[in-house]
Symmetry: C2
Subunit: 102 residues, 2 copies
């Protein structure tokens, strides 16, 4: 968990963000993070194994969606709301609306 690389949002094309959100598991993660809090990997249970969830989190991070900080043992993560909103204005709020509806 050492070298946690977070790409600049300016490097992320829209289709990559869409692709990252195009999976039930990853969308579920994002939905949890939309409350703005910092969450830990172990609190999630979306019916996939631990290594699979870790994999999905990595994809969300590399798509610029999730901020991922190791703290002690745990995998802390949160939405990169401000940066996402600067790059894709209104998109985070839109996600909030859409995921509530589901």
């Amino acid at each position: 968990m050492r070298t946690v690389f977070h790409p600049a949002l300016s490097d992320i094309p829209l289709h990559k963000v869409m692709h990252a959100l195009g999976s039930p598991v990853r969308l579920a993660v994002v939905k949890e993070l939309l409350d703005g809090d910092v969450h830990q990997g172990s609190e999630f249970d979306f019916g996939v194994g631990q290594s699979t969830l870790s994999h999905h989190v990595k994809i969300l991070r590399e798509a610029g969606i999730v901020q991922n900080d190791p703290e002690g043992n745990r995998c802390l993560m949160s939405l990169r709301s401000a940066e996402l909103d600067a790059r894709f204005p209104g998109f985070v709020e839109q996600l909030r609306v859409l995921t509530v509806a589901e």
Copy 2:
């Protein structure tokens, strides 16, 4: 092109829409359709072959994003804006904003 099946938007989960938009070619198609007009397959050139484009259009149709009508020889298509907006309020307008920015 006979049996053009269009799924009900109520059957489409959000992650499927996201997945459909998670490809450069398909996003480019949608971007063109955002003007609200009816477009024809042959007017697009996104650097992929004809069969590939046809494939992508099918995916967009099956994701509920595109209305696809055969008329004579041609493959006419348009955004299912109203239905999308009913199912995912604000999303079409959001797409308009985001794709203009790119």
